[in-house]
């Protein structure tokens, strides 16, 4: 019991009085909108007031505790942000490797503390720039990487042993990580010294992001290969970033994001244990997560706090992990792209600042803040600087980093945290009953839950039940023009020339042999990583490696669930 009996008694009396008063007032001055519209952006009903009654069943030790203590509601780090702020990590990539490298150096100079790579569509989907399927896409949505040569240009001048780099790459993750490892090797940096993250989370691809290549089963196998390889040889690398961000951006509610992401995490844990026979504590500490920070301030904070507690419980009780580091949920956060508007784009700075603040109050370890031009194009230099400064202002001016988990104990925040946890477990159990996440995905369950939520939200926007300023309220006639980043169509031509030059100069026999070895490894079920590293060192391209996977494991096409 969290409150003494007299407190609850007193509260009940005073609450009664307050409720009477409320009834009296709204009889005369009704609320601005009906009850059901006072809800979160995810449509979770919020009460007018929260009090001791709402959290009376909490047990301090079991449910709250202290930072660095089970159930980690209040954070993993005992020193909070005093030892180190979250990593300022801006997701960036555009055009060719040289352009992106320049952006990276700019960001580091401006105080960014970690790197994060956005690849272009051909790379994301495992095609070379000159594939007929890739026409028109090169460099438009991120950096174009075909071979190790491009990769070396990308990381030129970046101290790989000191800066951690995150790579948003999924089906071709083995190929791109192999390039990173090869690059380190060429620079004489041992694999034990490099740190970073590959997203490498295929379950959420099937659910939300749709960079697809092979069917679920073999996709998860490839992921387990990276986990195993990382555990043995690249101990500072996060081999999966289990992502809720994409799930949310595809239109899910906050609870769905929480539940599906954590259930994905559990699926990976189970697969690695089953397939590789590894001890849970040997790899679990390197699992990392990635959440969205949407516009509904408290819902997001509650979601992140609940996430830590659920994961801790799952790892300790469900998977019997013993090392407290296995219980930690470490996560990166990105503010919500889909909350931003093309109309009155400067308003996006305010939205992003609010969302970033929520992420910090939720205890994130790393943060990307969207730029004000998010809905229009890839971020311009100026816009990305404002976005980076937003984080720096929150860290160094606002004082919110002074103390750890400052909202703990708030009746509302604790109650909301509990509610989200409860609702997430309901989903998790439902998916357990379906036979796990792969089975649920094959049934289309998470995909359709999300599609329902996305459609409902769009209708609510149309009906004015949810507000987006500048879109369905306070609409202005004049559109403020802002400078747009444009990726020239020439980038594609030049990239194809570079690729062809590599093809001419490399030892094609060696490439063929490497790919043959990779194919045999796939067929035998061996770990593919060593073969990938060998292949990229011999300048095999991303597509050449992915074609091997497609050939051996089969191709998976978007089932287009609606």
């Amino acid at each position: 019991m969290y409150f003494a009996a007299e407190v609850l008694e007193k509260s009940s009396v005073l609450r009664q009085k307050w409720e009477d008063e409320v009834r009296r007032v709204i009889a005369k001055n009704p609320d601005q909108k009906p009850d059901h519209l006072w809800s979160t952006v995810s449509d979770l009903k919020i009460k007018r007031l929260y009090g001791p009654e709402d959290i009376k069943d909490m047990d301090f030790e079991r449910d709250i505790g202290y930072p660095g203590q089970f159930p980690f509601l209040r954070g993993n780090q005992v020193t909070g942000y005093r030892g180190k702020y979250w990593t300022f990590r801006m997701f960036s990539g555009m055009g060719d490797a040289k352009t992106t490298n320049a952006r990276w150096h700019l960001l580091l100079k401006e105080g960014q503390t970690g790197l994060s790579t956005a690849f272009d569509f051909p790379t994301l989907m495992g095609y070379d720039t000159d594939s007929p399927k890739a026409r028109g896409e090169c460099g438009k949505c991120g950096v174009a990487i075909d071979t190790l040569e491009d990769f070396l240009t990308l990381v030129d001048g970046i101290p790989l042993d000191r800066v951690t780099t995150s790579m948003t790459i999924n089906p071709p993750a083995t190929a791109l990580w192999a390039m990173y490892c090869a690059a380190a090797d060429l620079k004489g940096i041992p694999l034990t010294k490099i740190g970073g993250t590959i997203q490498n989370d295929m379950l959420k691809e099937f659910i939300a992001q749709k960079t697809l290549m092979c069917p679920p089963e073999p996709s998860v196998k490839l992921i387990s290969d990276t986990v195993e390889f990382g555990t043995k040889y690249v101990p500072k690398w996060n081999t999966i970033s289990i992502s809720g961000y994409h799930i949310r951006e595809a239109g899910s509610t906050a609870v769905q994001e929480l539940a599906f992401t954590l259930r994905d995490g559990m699926e990976y844990v189970e697969d690695v244990i089953r397939r590789k026979g590894l001890d849970v504590d040997s790899f679990a500490p390197r699992l990392s997560f990635f959440f969205n920070s949407h516009i509904d301030f408290f819902e997001e904070i509650a979601k992140m706090r609940a996430a830590r507690r659920i994961w801790a419980k799952a790892m300790r009780d469900r998977y019997k992990a013993k090392d407290p580091r296995s219980w930690w949920m470490r996560f990166h956060t990105q503010t919500a792209g889909c909350s931003l508007t093309a109309q009155q784009p400067y308003n996006n700075v305010i939205r992003t600042a609010t969302e970033a603040l929520a992420a910090v109050l939720g205890g994130t370890q790393s943060l990307h803040t969207n730029s004000l031009d998010e809905v229009l194009c890839l971020p311009s230099d100026h816009a990305v600087q404002i976005a980076l400064r937003t984080q720096q202002i929150i860290a160094e001016e606002t004082g919110v980093a002074n103390t750890i988990d400052p909202l703990a104990g708030s009746y509302f925040v604790e109650a909301l945290t509990n509610e989200m946890e409860e609702k997430a477990w309901e989903y998790i159990h439902k998916i357990d009953e379906m036979g796990g996440m792969i089975a649920a995905i094959e049934k289309g369950f998470p995909q359709l839950e999300i599609a329902d939520a996305a459609y409902k939200f769009q209708r609510q926007i149309d009906a004015g039940e949810k507000i987006m300023i500048g879109v369905n309220k306070y609409v202005s006639e004049v559109q403020e023009p802002i400078p747009l980043v444009e990726i020239d169509d020439r980038v594609e031509i030049e990239q194809i020339e570079r690729l062809n030059a590599v093809r001419r100069k490399r030892d094609n026999k060696a490439v063929k042999r490497c790919l043959e070895d990779l194919k045999n490894a796939c067929k035998k079920g061996e770990n593919v990583m060593p073969y990938c590293i060998e292949a990229v060192k011999n300048l095999a391209s991303v597509q050449e490696i992915c074609d091997v996977y497609r050939e051996v494991y089969g191709e998976y096409r978007d089932p287009g669930l609606y």
């Binding site: 069917p215 679920p216 089963e217 049934k443 289309g444 089969g554 998976y556 096409r557 978007d558 089932p559 287009g560 669930l561 609606y562």
Partner: protein, 323 residues
């Protein structure tokens, strides 16, 4: 007729427009069918039925590949439900078959039920004729799969595949409820899943219990296991087996002179349908358009007369005068 010529030459544009007009009930489309009808009867029609999510479309996609490998041209008619609330529909079967979109030997057409019960759309029968005249060797017809009794498919097919998946308790109930009678081949789909041998045993038991005359012609519906669609090799092998089984069934129909009775069944149904749409529907439409129906309903409510008397009056009036 220009249109007939184009359709005979396999012109997709003309054919798909004609199917559209048939769906929309355009009169002129009907007269085109009059010209096409004598040219029909060459295609082999295979019906695929089973509950939603059973993997019918995925199976059709696999069958298309097989038939193409064997040098056959393939038409696909895939039916999805119309929303009873809005009259709209999302026709999603095609998504599974998009990889064949560019193959000129494959013609996939989606149809919405538009209120038709029985698992198909009203225009399916005529659409089959259109594809037949286009020269499609095989026409695959995928039913809605709403779980209701989808027995219409048998009226249009030479061979009916009933697709079942393991682990769905109600499947067998559905078999009992009548799907059983229409199956020429049972397909256990996603057979890699738990419960597939149990399902197989259940189907066998069901077949064993059927009255002896059921298989008098010598065809006892075989059960084909189809492996996981996501494993290209084993799925491909399953598809080969299924395609062989379909061919065997067709040979059986031919050998036992049973094709005729299937074609006759289709002819009978088409005649019923045609009479309904040429005789009954115009009369009803006329009564509605003239507002007469309302008056009749009022008379019934006032107990001034009864439905049979009114119907007989209508029959006397229209069947003599015509509409």
């Amino acid at each position: 007729m220009e249109k007939v010529k184009k359709i005979k030459a396999g012109d997709v544009r003309t054919a798909s427009r004609l199917i559209r007009n048939l769906e929309d009930g355009v009169k002129e489309a009907r007269s085109t069918i009059k010209h096409l009808f004598p040219l029909t009867g060459k295609a082999q029609v295979v019906g695929i039925t089973g509950s939603p999510g059973a993997g019918k479309s995925t199976l059709v996609d696999g069958l298309v590949e097989q038939f193409r490998k064997r040098g056959k041209t393939v038409g696909v008619l895939a039916v999805d439900p119309t929303s009873p609330f809005t009259g709209g529909a999302i026709l999603g079967d095609r998504i599974r078959m998009q990889r064949h979109a560019e193959d000129s030997g494959v013609f996939v057409r989606s149809l919405a039920t538009r209120g038709a019960l029985g698992g198909l759309a009203k225009a399916v029968g005529d659409a089959i004729h259109v594809m037949d005249v286009m020269g499609m060797d095989v026409i695959l017809v995928e039913t809605v799969g709403t779980g209701q009794q989808e027995v219409d498919i048998i009226n249009h097919s030479h061979t009916v595949l009933v697709v079942l998946i393991p682990g769905m308790g109600d499947e067998i109930q559905a078999i009992k409820a009548g799907i059983m009678e229409i199956a020429d081949v049972f397909v256990i789909n996603k057979a890699d899943r738990e419960g597939s041998s149990k399902l197989r045993r259940e189907i066998m038991a069901m077949l064993d219990m059927a009255p002896p005359e059921t298989f008098a012609s010598g065809w006892r519906p075989p059960i084909v296991r189809v492996e996981n669609a996501f494993e290209p090799d084993s799925f491909g092998k399953s598809m080969e087996e299924l395609t062989d089984t379909i061919a065997k069934h067709h040979e059986h129909l031919v050998a036992k002179d049973l094709l005729g009775s299937r074609i006759r069944r289709k002819a009978a149904v088409e005649l019923h349908e045609a009479i309904r749409s040429c005789v009954l529907e115009p009369i009803l439409n006329h009564l509605v358009a003239e507002g007469e129906i309302e008056g009749m309903i009022q008379k019934l409510m006032d107990k001034k007369t009864d439905p049979y008397t009114l119907a007989e009056e209508v029959a006397r009036r229209f069947l003599k005068e015509g509409v």
